[in-house]
């Protein structure tokens, strides 16, 4: 049996499509309506409510909490302020990514870490000799993500919403229920993530849905989220990269530099897991880059026209390895799809460094009427979609 999130009673009642998928051992809705399309547009035009409870959540407390996080992640955690949230990856000794997530500073000696994969054993093993308590609180804390331009107004209707800057968090009460709210999300839009104890999960859901009614709130599933996070240029573990913990061969692994996360690597820290390898890589430059790809519409149109069809584009985001060519194979895309808000066919891709500069002309493999062809594409800057309200 798969696990059910604290919100399952509500999400199950709303899931008209009966379309579910797995996420970290839980069942979550792929879409609530028969098509995910409206849910997607709510993210960009109203407010979408996601159940993100399957995220792994670790409470890290104690005198050496910051030291532990400095030891394992690539960011400078000690210098972060209380109330700040850091996005970070963490690496093995060879400087290859194990996972990525957020580290929120709740107090001087208290942090909440989120992760896509289980990391308890790894955190504990790295905490040897430190005065720090690592606790897996994944099951006891429910999490919702409210994303979209109306999200702030919905939360304001429910209580005293502190003025939160981008990637800041605070404890507050929503309709009297104690929650933590962070100005974070996985959509590249204005949005919040709300952390609540398991017992208050259902009342919180109800309060949000009720307060959101006048603001066009919709529960939204993973299909809508997937497209939004691609537009936001955000990578996904097991889709866009393989954890060094699971990689069967070395070439399956990726470093933070290769994933375009140089900004998260603080080499000025005295030491952290993987530092020497990363220093070496920073010196010689990464061999791979994680980039945005835009497929040329007229090229697509031509390929379809040749067989007598109108142009088709994938309506839902895809997750697979698609070859990209320059004079030879230059790399591979790992997720992509048609961006409704940009009206562009976009993809996230790994490219060899020499082909990774923005503007580089490439070809992407596409299948038209059972034949494998190549459509013109080019490297573009990420994120594809970056509205001002994201940071507002």
């Amino acid at each position: 049996m798969l696990k059910k999130t604290p919100f399952h009673e509500r999400t199950a009642a709303l899931c008209e499509s009966h379309s579910w998928r797995r996420w970290a051992g839980h069942v979550v809705a792929s879409s609530y309506e028969l098509s995910h399309e409206r849910e997607y547009h709510c993210i960009r035009a109203a407010a979408a409510l996601f159940d993100i409870s399957p995220l792994y959540k670790y409470s890290i407390r104690g005198r050496d909490a910051a030291r532990l996080l400095d030891r394992v992640t690539t960011r400078d955690v000690s210098r972060s302020q209380v109330g700040q949230v850091l996005y970070t990856g963490w690496c093995d000794g060879a400087g290859k990514l194990l996972d990525d997530g957020t580290v929120a500073r709740l107090g001087e000696d208290a942090f909440l870490m989120t992760a896509a994969d289980p990391n308890l054993r790894w955190l504990q093993d790295n905490a040897v000799g430190l005065e720090v308590e690592v606790e897996d609180i994944s099951e006891s804390v429910g999490a919702l993500s409210l994303q979209g331009p109306q999200s702030r107004r919905i939360l304001e209707a429910l209580g005293e919403l502190p003025a939160l800057k981008y990637f800041r968090r605070a404890d507050t009460k929503l309709r009297g229920m104690p929650v933590s709210v962070s100005r974070t999300g996985y959509t590249g839009d204005l949005g919040y993530e709300i952390w609540v104890s398991r017992d208050n999960a259902l009342p919180l859901w109800d309060a949000l849905m009720q307060a959101g009614r006048g603001h066009g709130i919709m529960p939204a599933g993973m299909l809508a989220l997937d497209m939004a996070r691609i537009e936001a240029g955000l990578m996904l573990l097991d889709v866009d990269y393989v954890s060094a913990r699971k990689a069967l061969i070395e070439s399956q692994t990726s470093s933070p530099y290769e994933m375009d996360l140089a900004w998260t690597v603080d080499l000025s820290k005295p030491s952290f897991v993987g530092k020497s390898s990363l220093e070496e890589e920073a010196r010689r430059g990464p061999q791979w880059r994680f980039v945005g790809i835009e497929v040329d519409w007229s090229s697509l149109e031509r390929l379809y026209a040749e067989v007598g069809l109108a142009t088709r584009v994938p309506q839902a985001a895809w997750r697979m390895s698609v070859p990209l060519y320059a004079s030879e194979q230059a790399g591979y895309a790992t997720s992509g799809g048609w961006s409704p808000v940009l009206k562009k066919y976009i993809a996230l891709a790994h490219l060899r460094a020499e082909w990774a500069a923005p503007g580089t002309a490439l070809e992407m493999e596409i299948t038209v009427e059972h034949r494998r062809l190549r459509a013109a594409a080019r490297v573009v800057k990420k994120p594809f979609f970056d509205p001002e309200r994201k940071r507002a």
């Binding site: 049996m1 798969l2 696990k3 797995r22 970290a24 051992g25 289980p118 990391n119 308890l120 054993r121 790894w122 504990q124 897996d136 913990r245 699971k246 069967l248």
Partner: protein
């Protein structure tokens, strides 16, 4: 009189695999089987009316995918049904289950230990790498590192390159696996007692060693090899029982022109001036051939069929010292109803998988203690499957067959094996299992107990060792079955060995039979 190119002694699965490969290469092959049917220890029999059993070996885990492909076994009836879980009932009324679904498995392990749930995947990855490291060695005749013969040097050179590619970290991990006990090795990974015990159990199967005996970690890896071919789905229960594995190989061999004669026990191999000339049957009939391959175990082959007088004293000594020490028994039950486990009542999916009576490492080690001093384990380790849950044709409708692998039942039992001892073993098994499934006793319609002495008598495996000799490091690789004679050859020209007493060893793997065929043909496998 028909003239054969090759005579294969013994129609066990390795003999049949060897015959099939030789026939495939165009040789005229005769297989001589002592019993009235082929299969050796891989055979199915309707022991009680309506109830069919894999009397001896009962699962397929290591059968080489290349053999399945080369001999087209699915075409000849091989269908492997997956066994997807292992249930370990615990004395406190709880249980530990291991499921093939990753999320389900993780959730169950996390119930016992969050750390173990996480370590499980990494452990799997390390064993995957180790199994990959060992696997290429299974398909080759094992080179002796001290030999200066040219072809052996070439093989050694390849191995050297291979170990270099393995990398330091993995080489160290491999060294640990080769030298440690299963229990110690698992202690490095896990904290849940039942998990360590159940995993270490695969390190003791078929050996007269306990989970804390050094060298058992390798046996664990040996059994893990089957999981490497997970995609190929070579692990599970053969539809119709393990006899259908032998039947499929036999049919494939026959389709390639192999002749199989059952009820034809070989009394001895004819040796003249150091060369093999054929065999003599117990009835006195002589059959000539310049090539003879023995599927019998090393003791029966060298000391029985060939005879000491034809062999160098050194080899005779090695074979005498080759350790068999059978330690496993089988209890086959015909059941009127399914067992109801107190820890997990009802007809759940766990009944389609294996059940392991291995609550703790201490439990297994105590079971071994009894055997060390010549007694049956009072509370034995058991590996249980209910084949009729996967293949209903094994039992009448609504009824079931249960196959219980039991350890330890030492071949060298104090006072020797008697009917009374056999029944005492059966009672110990049923009593122990009834503690976890109280309705079992009332459900038993028939009971068959197979002791190591029975295995020796019926199948002809010396001391009832299911692997034709222990899978312990001092008799593995280039030492199996004896130094200098590990590459399927013997001091008698034209006489070869193909049983699991040769590298890489036991399990219904077929690798020995295949490798031997290529040795006979003088080709690389």
């Amino acid at each position: 009189m028909t003239r054969y190119d090759v005579i294969v002694i013994g129609g066990g699965h390795n003999g049949l695999v060897c015959a099939a490969y030789l026939a495939r290469a165009g040789r005229k092959v005769l297989v001589l089987e002592r019993r009235e049917r082929v299969g050796g220890a891989a055979m199915s029999e309707e022991v009680f009316p309506g109830f069919r059993f894999s009397v001896f070996s009962y699962v397929v885990s290591l059968l080489r995918p290349e053999i399945i492909r080369d001999l087209e076994l699915p075409r000849y009836g091989l269908h492997i049904l997956p066994l997807e879980s292992t249930l370990t009932p615990l004395p406190n009324g709880d249980y530990l289950a291991q499921w093939s679904d990753h999320d389900q498995n993780r959730r169950e392990l996390a119930r016992h230990s969050l750390r173990d749930a996480e370590a499980y995947d990494e452990f799997g990855l390390v064993l995957h790498h180790m199994a990959r490291a060992i696997k290429p060695l299974l398909a080759v005749a094992p080179p002796d590192p001290t030999s200066l013969r040219r072809e052996q040097l070439f093989d050694l050179f390849q191995l050297r390159t291979y170990f270099k590619d393995l990398g330091t970290k993995r080489f160290h991990a491999l060294h640990k696996l080769l030298t440690m006990s299963a229990a110690d090795y698992l202690d490095e990974w896990f904290e849940t007692e039942a998990l360590k015990a159940t995993k270490s159990a695969s390190g003791i199967i078929g050996t007269m060693l306990g989970p804390r005996s050094p060298g058992t970690a390798y046996v664990l890896l040996h059994h893990y090899m089957g999981e490497l071919d997970g995609v190929f789905r070579a692990w599970g229960f053969a539809r119709g029982g393990n006899g259908s594995v032998s039947a499929a190989i036999a049919a494939s061999a026959q389709a390639r022109g192999t002749e199989i004669r059952t009820s034809s026990p070989v009394s001895n191999v004819i040796v003249r001036s150091g060369k093999v000339r054929g065999v003599v049957l117990e009835g006195g009939e002589e059959i000539e051939a310049d090539l003879v391959v023995s599927g019998a175990d090393p003791r029966r082959t060298f000391l029985g069929l060939v005879g000491e007088q034809h062999l160098p004293g050194e080899l005779v000594e090695s074979i005498r010292r080759f350790r068999f020490r059978g330690s496993s028994a089988k209890v086959n039950l015909a059941l009127g109803e399914l067992p109801e486990f107190t820890c997990l009542p009802g007809r759940g999916p766990h009944l389609r998988g294996a059940t392991s009576i291995s609550p703790s490492v201490d439990y297994l080690e105590r079971a071994y203690d009894d055997a060390k001093y010549g007694e049956i384990s009072r509370r034995p380790y058991m590996d249980i499957v209910i084949p009729s849950m996967l293949d209903p044709a094994m039992a009448p409708p609504g009824k079931h067959v249960m196959s219980i692998f039991v350890q330890y039942a030492p071949y060298h039992l104090n006072g020797g094996w008697t009917d009374a001892k056999r029944e005492a073993l059966g009672d110990a098994v049923v009593d122990t299992l009834s503690e976890y499934a109280p309705n079992l006793k009332g459900a038993i319609l028939h009971r068959q107990v197979v002791t190591p002495a029975d295995i020796e008598r019926i199948v002809g495996l010396s001391e009832g060792n299911i692997f034709q000799g222990e899978l312990s490091l001092q008799q593995m690789f280039f030492l199996r079955p004896a130094p200098a004679w590990s590459r399927y050859r013997t001091p008698i020209r034209g006489l070869y060995q193909c049983g699991s007493g040769t590298h890489p060893g036991g399990g219904v793997m077929g690798a020995s039979g295949r490798n031997a065929a290529f040795a006979v043909l003088g080709e690389p496998p």
